[in-house]
């Protein structure tokens, strides 16, 4: 670790703050997920606590996962690799730390408002206007810091990770404001069917223009670094980047294939959802060929191990997603736990794994010391891998049971007892993931602040 010998404690304060933010909110988000899973097994267990019943826990879980765990985790890595790739310092560490602090004010504000019922009732766009504004400001601050860092760069050539991360934060700042109908503070919604079209344009871009590019940016940084090999192909990087931006933005309407929206929107969404194999496979070929013959090095670096596993889940979630966009498949999979499985594969298996990988990859470099415990990080890796793989299997099975039963005319009520055992196993797997999240909090805090390890 020759590079980190020069670590100055003032450097990377932003990256550190975001590592901590992500680790802590991962624990919180998974706890809320656990409460939700509990409600689906024993709805009367915590009856009459209005603040956390299922209808409130669920949006808190989803918003915390997206904006508390995954996004800050991916940003933490970005605040490390962007300056490094550009051979400069972050434009302003002060501003960066301020962003992280404001981030940690915004998240409790989000939890409290959703818990108290201040919600706009639109999935992924629930947060009330004031919190929307805070989030828009947060993205603006991040954009400003990154753009200014790019301006003061000493490296002329922009590496792929920088393309992705700058596109992600700029575009998400805009689509977030658009999707949350920020010019309508009281409702944050449009009227009728156009509301659904806008909502899912935005909702899908949370995955397509935020999590995916930021996750790929981390993969593009960590994988060549950890294997000490050059990126396989510049051309593939270019194709992957531009096709992602073009194709992903078109597919939001695949959430509305069974709803009366204009047919041309559905057609575009289906065609482009299948066309998603291009940006996905191009990127994966590029990354996987870079690794070719060097899996040992991936295995040796815990951060790279998380990231590489993330790329495998990225493959699965996208193949699955393209399938789910075919109307004949969606007849069975829509409205049931299959989609919940897909959501966890994408957001935890790909984006969450990658975020954790980014954190563990940069932690030694930003603290100048080895990880507090490589064993705990490894344990966390296995807990989460087992958890998410179990989720994928169990939720897919339940989804098929539900989907097939409904299509055969069985009522939802009658299928409830059939899916109960799967809800129980999901909760058990949830405990495993939850344990992983808590171990992560401990390990990250120890690595950041109470690490007695030798300075390397």
């Amino acid at each position: 670790m020759a590079l980190s010998a020069s670590v100055n404690p003032e450097r990377y304060r932003t990256a550190r703050a975001f590592c901590l933010t992500s680790a802590v909110w991962f624990g919180a988000a998974a706890s809320f997920g656990m409460i939700g899973a509990g409600y689906l097994i024993a709805p009367d267990f915590m009856a009459n606590i209005g603040f956390i019943h299922f209808g409130k826990t669920r949006p808190v879980h989803v918003n915390l996962v997206l904006f508390g765990f995954v996004t800050p985790g991916l940003l933490a890595a970005a605040f490390y690799y962007v300056p490094r790739l550009l051979r400069t310092d972050l434009y302003s560490e002060k501003l960066g730390v301020f962003t992280a602090v404001l981030w940690n004010i915004t998240l409790p504000a989000a939890v409290i408002s959703l818990g108290m019922g201040y919600t706009q009732g639109r999935e992924y766009a629930e947060l009330p206007w004031l919190v929307d504004i805070l989030i828009a400001i947060l993205f603006a601050l991040v954009v400003f810091n990154i753009i200014m860092t790019i301006r003061q760069r000493r490296e002329k050539i922009l590496y792929v990770s920088v393309w992705y991360v700058s596109a992600a934060v700029v575009l998400t700042g805009l689509t977030y404001s658009l999707g949350n109908v920020i010019w309508q503070p009281s409702t944050g919604a449009l009227l009728g069917i156009p509301d659904a079209i806008l909502l899912w344009f935005y909702g899908h871009n949370v995955f397509g223009l935020l999590l995916t590019p930021m996750g790929l940016a981390v993969a593009y940084y960590v994988i060549p670094r950890a294997t000490r090999s050059p990126l396989y192909s510049h051309t593939l990087s270019l194709i992957g980047f531009w096709s992602l931006i073009v194709v992903y933005t078109h597919i939001g309407t695949h959430h509305l294939l069974q709803v009366p929206v204009p047919t041309y929107l559905k057609t575009i969404a289906i065609v482009d959802s299948v066309a998603m194999v291009i940006p996905v496979m191009v990127v994966l070929i590029n990354l996987w060929y870079t690794v070719k013959g060097k899996l040992g090095e991936i295995h040796a670096d815990i951060g790279a191990k998380f990231v590489f596993t993330g790329t495998i889940y990225y493959f699965f979630v996208n193949i699955q997603g393209s399938m789910m966009s075919l109307p004949i498949v969606q007849r069975v999979t829509h409205f049931n736990n299959w989609v919940v499985g897909h959501a966890h594969i994408g957001v935890l298996g790909f984006a969450g794994m990658t975020a954790l990988g980014g954190i563990y990859y940069i932690l030694p470099k930003i603290t100048g010391k080895p990880l507090y415990s490589k064993f705990l990080a490894d344990l966390q890796y296995w807990l989460i891998l087992i958890g998410i793989t179990g989720f994928a299997i169990v939720l897919t099975i339940v989804g098929l049971i539900q989907g097939q039963a409904w299509i055969n005319g069985e009522t939802i009520y009658r299928v409830l007892p059939e899916i109960h055992p799967y809800y129980v196993s999901r909760a058990m797997l949830g405990v495993i993931i939850l344990a992983g999240a808590y171990i992560g909090i401990y390990n990250v805090i120890r690595s950041l602040y109470f690490n007695s390890g030798e300075t390397s």
Binding site: L40, P43, D44, A47, N48, G50, H53, F54, G55, K56, R58, P59, G117, G121, R122, E123, I147, L158, W163, S166, V170, L174, L178, T187, A189, L190, L191, G192, I193, D195, A196, I197, L198, L199, F201, L238, W242, I245, V246, T249, H250, G252, H255, L256, Q258, V259, P260, V261, P262, L265, I268, R331, F335, N336, W406, T411, I412, Y413, L416, P417
Partner: protein
């Protein structure tokens, strides 16, 4: 291709602008906001109920979007764009942990919903919906008002029917058990009244009947069939006490018909979507054997012997 900051920013912003134009702005400017034939505006009470619905995240378990392939409640009418012209936000939902509610208005009378909101297991023993007793009676009633408006004009039509039969059934109930039982039986079409239960009473059939009784009926009619299930305090006329039916010429056909079609106006739901024919006959026979203590199972007239009988 040289990737300069300007190339990246201008490029991605231009793409986003073009896509927003095609995928969001164009459909928005060409939206068709013609109300469908069932649409009407919501009353202020229904609007406030909708706010409670949004605040409590009912949308995470309940869709309001009937598809061409659906069977369950509401599937009589496939959703049209014109049904949503008053919805801001639109509450299509993305998960069907619970049933679709597009056409929920008038499926049940108010007292069913109130008992159900207090604790869903009261009326639906296997339900996994969280209880909403903590909302308080006032809010539960407002919420019920919204639920009863779902389906707009079609809901109004069904509600009218619920209100009419509510009055009739209360009148009959208040005239005493004797009259009530007679009145209930008279509502069943004549042909059905003379049909005995065509399935013989068997231990296996009783087991299946008991299972379905516990999964569907126990919250109202109670574990011993006396109508004192936990839902009873919220339901009027109260769930029927089966033990008073003995010696009152209640045939298997009457029981079958009442279970299949429900008794509109009372909390007694219809079960024809949920239970197939054999299940209804068997749960009916279970009620007859265990609670009424009088069953006409497999009695004459029986027609040609059924092939599967021993």
């Amino acid at each position: 291709m040289r990737m300069t900051p300007v190339t990246i920013l201008v490029g991605v912003l231009a793409i986003l602008a073009a896509v927003v134009f095609v995928m969001v702005f164009w459909p928005y400017t060409h939206r068709d906001m013609t109300p469908s034939e069932i649409y009407r505006t919501r009353s202020p009470g229904e609007e406030s109920g909708r706010v409670i619905y949004i605040q409590n995240g009912c949308v995470y378990c309940h869709s309001q979007s009937i598809r061409t392939i659906d069977w369950g409640p509401g599937a009589e009418r496939i959703a049209q764009a014109g049904d949503y012209v008053g919805d801001k936000p639109i509450l299509l939902g993305s998960q069907r942990t619970g049933v679709d509610l597009s056409q929920e208005g008038g499926e049940h009378p108010d007292d069913w919903h109130i008992a159900h909101f207090i604790k869903p297991r009261y009326t639906r023993p296997n339900s996994i919906m969280p209880p909403f007793r903590w909302l308080g009676m006032q809010k539960i009633k407002t919420l019920t008002q919204y639920i009863q408006s779902l389906g707009y004009k079609q809901a109004d039509h069904r509600m009218q029917r619920q209100r009419y039969w509510k009055q009739e059934s209360i009148k009959a109930y208040e005239a005493g058990p004797e009259y009530n039982v007679k009145w209930l039986a008279e509502q069943v079409p004549a042909g059905w009244r003379n049909i005995p239960n065509p399935y013989p009473t068997t231990p296996a059939g009783m087991q299946r009947g008991r299972k379905n009784y516990q999964d569907f009926c126990i919250g109202c009619h109670g574990p011993i069939g006396d109508g004192m299930g936990p839902a009873q305090p919220w339901i009027y006329p109260p769930p029927l006490n089966f033990t008073i039916l003995k010696g009152r010429q209640i045939s298997g056909g009457i029981i079958y018909y009442q279970i299949m079609n429900g008794i509109t106006g009372t909390a007694m739901p219809y079960f024809k979507r949920e239970l197939e024919s054999q299940k209804i006959w068997e749960v009916g026979d279970y009620v007859a054997v265990f609670f009424i203590n009088q069953s006409d199972a497999n009695a004459d007239p029986r027609g040609i012997d059924a092939a599967w009988e021993p």
